[in-house]
Structure formats: C-alpha cells, structure tokens
Symmetry: C2
Subunit: 269 residues, 2 copies
C-alpha cells in the first residue's frame, strides 16, 4: 500500500479527495465546515456603516436536508481516515453546531468535551435585539464509545492555565491585525480565518509531535501553519484555488523545526 501523503495541500472537493485516502491514516482531525448562516438582510451599524456579511457561495445550502447530507458525507470520511486512537475537533456556531453534533453522535463518535471559544472582542449586537453572540462551539470527540486510548496533554494544559485544570471555556481574541491575511485589495482574504491561538491549543492538547493532522476545510491554512510550527505533519484539503494558493505560500514561509518528540504522557479514557 502506498503511504498516505503528508505535509501536503490537496486542492479540490474534500469528500472526493478523502475517498482516495486509506483508512486510519491520520491522528487528529480539525474541521471548520461552512456554518450555513442564512443571513436575511444587510446589517447597518449605529454609525451608518455596513457590516461586511459572510455571503460567500461556499456557505449557501438549499435547505437543512442538503446541509445534513453534506455533513454526513464529509464527517463519515473523516471517521474512516482517523486512526482508532485518534480524535476529531469540529467548530461551529449556533447556526450549525447542533445539527453537526447530532450527526456526529449518529455516526458513532463519542464526545469528550464541548469547548466554548469565548471571544474577547466580539462584534456587538448593534440593534439591541439579542445577547451579544460572543462564542463559537467546538466539539472534541473520539471515534467510538469503546475507544480505549486518545492523546490529551493534561499537564501541558494545566501549566498553560496557571497550574489549574483547564476548563472547556477558552478566552481567545478574534483573528485581526497583522495575523489576518489580506488580499491585494487590502480586504480580508477569507471571511472566517481562525486565530492561530485557537489551533495552537487544539493541536498541542490532543496530538504528539510527528502526528498527522487533517483539515478538510483548509481555507487559508491556519491548521497547517500551526501544525508545522508545532512539529506535526498535516494534510489540508481546500476547494478554492485562491485560498489554496494563499495557504501554500503562508506555510512555505514557516521554517521547518526539528524531529518529532513526545512531551507528555497520553491520557486514557
């Protein structure tokens, strides 16, 4: 059998590409799928400026049933590609995470935590009609209830949290400023680029050096960039050629680090 690819960006439809990869070839999955936001009208701030909406074609679905079918397809492939001691992270908002979570349970995943990304600088609710939506939700799951072993660097996380056990609420800022990748027009290159700090915590908590991390919705490559910085191998899949080009350039600019190493003992469930 041919060895699985590593440290590579595959450009194309993630479901089709995952079907070409062998069973049980990755240690960790991080997935940031479309949220299916269904925004109705444009939103104006109190100062009369317009909020840049997420109106990308990749976030459009005909209905909930087609979103569900899409979710089952890519999630099922992720489960097949995961090693039997691997885990998966999926991030979403209240628009999609409940459907995604229910489908994960249906496919046999067994949840370890729901983790709340509490944004330190969220956009307010300008009209005063709801509570400020300051969070996104991550689901961390193993492949099955029966799974005996998975990687969790408990002590590293505890040390990161001033010596106290780390909770499932993470206060991390939005990706802005120099970290946010801009296009030639000076606008953000991707609507939903995630902060590296978020991926840093995910990858360092739940994988070892030398592990393979798969991201089926690679976007501008945050997962690959952080994986490379942390000495993990990575596989990125991205449908949009422009996003893929940006991601490849971004990751190529990061220097390769030394050989694999294990820094903490894995937890068992």
């Amino acid at each position: 059998m041919t060895p699985p690819p590593r440290d590579i960006l595959l450009q194309g439809d993630c479901i089709e590409i995952m079907r070409t990869l062998p069973d049980a070839c990755v240690d960790l999955v991080f997935a940031d799928p479309p949220y299916n936001l269904q925004l109705q009208n444009e939103l104006i701030r109190p100062d009369s400026t317009r909020v840049a909406a997420v109106d990308d074609a990749w976030d459009k679905f005909d209905d909930l049933a087609s979103y569900d079918a899409f979710t089952r397809a890519w999630m099922g492939e992720c489960r097949r590609l995961l090693k039997d001691d691997g885990t998966i992270w999926v991030i979403g908002s209240y628009h999609n995470i409940f459907r995604v979570g229910a489908i994960m349970m249906d496919l046999g995943f067994w949840f370890l935590n729901d983790v709340i990304w509490h944004k330190t600088n969220p956009m307010p609710n300008f009209r005063g009609t709801r509570f400020t939506n300051a969070t996104e939700t991550l689901i961390w799951a193993q492949k099955s209830q029966a799974q005996k072993r998975y990687t969790f660097h408990y002590h590293d996380m505890k040390a990161l949290n001033d010596g106290k056990q780390m909770q499932n609420v993470w206060r991390i800022a939005l990706c802005t400023g120099a970290e946010r990748i801009k296009g030639a027009d000076g606008k953000k290159a991707h609507s939903t680029q995630k902060p590296e700090a978020l991926l840093h915590r995910v990858i360092s908590a739940s994988s070892d050096r030398g592990d393979v991390v798969l991201d089926p919705f690679f976007g501008t490559g945050t997962t690959g960039a952080v994986a490379k910085k942390l000495g993990r191998h990575w596989i990125g899949i991205e449908r949009d050629p422009e996003y893929a080009r940006i991601a490849q350039k971004r990751i190529d600019a990061i220097p390769q680090i030394d050989q694999p190493d294990h820094t903490d003992t894995p937890a068992e469930s």
Copy 2:
C-alpha cells in the same frame, strides 16, 4: 373555551398533560429535560469516595432514537402552547443539547441565541482525562423564522452588566448551600436543581410581569419559585410525586407580590 390554568402544578406525564391545554396559552417556556447521560462506570474521586451520579430512572433511554422521539413529542407540544410572540428556553449539556437543538430546528423554531452557563464552581475532572466541563448550554428560540415580535428587556440586561451589552456567556454559581433543597436524609432532593439566579435572568430578560411561564420538567420548582418572585404566572408539570410535593411547598412559602406591571419596553425582532 375554558381559560388555561395559572399558578398551578400539574402532576403527571408532561406530554399527556400538555395535550390537554389549549393552543397559544403561554408567553414563555423554560425546559430542563432529562439529559440522557450515559455514564458507563461509577465516577470515583481520587480519595475513593463515590460521586453521586445522575442515574435516576427518569434519565434512562433505550437509545438515541427513543430520546429523539421523546424530545420531538414534548417539544412539539411546547411549540403549540406558545403564543405567536412567545419564546422558549431549553437547557442541556453536551450529552443531549445537540440532538435537542437539531430537533428544534426541524420543528421550525428559529434560534435567537445560544447562551453558555459558565459555572463559577464546576466539579473538576478528577482523572485528568478531559477539560473541566464547566458549562451547560441554553438555547433561546422564537417559534418561527417569520415571527416578528418577542420580548427582550435589553436595557435591563445591559444595566445588570455594568452598562455594557450583556453577552451570551453567563457566569453563575451552581446551586449549593442553603438554596439546594435537601431530603429527609440530608442528601440533595433532586440531582439537577438549577440555581435561581439562572432562572431569574431567563425570566426577567424574556417575559413581562403578568406573563405565563410554562415549565414541563418542573422538578423541585425553581422556575415557579422565581416566576412568583418576579410577578409572573406559572404552570409547572412534574411526573414525580415527591418532587411535585417539594415544589408545591417551596412555592407556597413565597409571598405573593403586587399586581402585574411592565418595567421595560419589549424589543421587536
């Protein structure tokens, strides 16, 4: 038609009882359904004392399908009983909230917020195998996407939050100490009693004085107790006679307050 009941505890199966109530008779629903926790083994503290787990008979379901069917049944009745300008709150943990949320969307509910109850004093993960599970999730939803109007006391919430817009993350302590109702044996009377502070925020944010609040899983009556203190009418449904007895006694001990009043202008969607 007979007027709907008010300020009353109905003892029995919530689905059967809700079916006897007329359409559109309540302004607000708060529901804390069984969590379907699937604890495989008893949880043991490091000092070998046993943690009282949620293993009551009412929390067992054969499988995910029966939990879904149960959820659709009670949730559908709640939707029928809600007025067309009403909203519903449902609380759950990562064990059940994803299924509950997906079913709510399927039934036509339109989400306003997911609210994170961030416990200030959560139980640690004794074995160091996961992140501390410090949260529960509430879904706040209106009946349909087309719904034009609902109650939200934006300014009251803002005032409660030092003059800044309140976020969807609420730091509230677990229900302990004197507030936690004990049985004759000195043990907690109910395994999942919610803090009154949580219900206070829910009810004061999304209802007016004189409104009717329905809780189909009344337990020891926290919703009714807070509703009475805030000058709201309430309808509680509880299957367990002992819980119902405790709840009735608890609410009877609260003095009736003055006549209805509106303290803030309702938001419109």
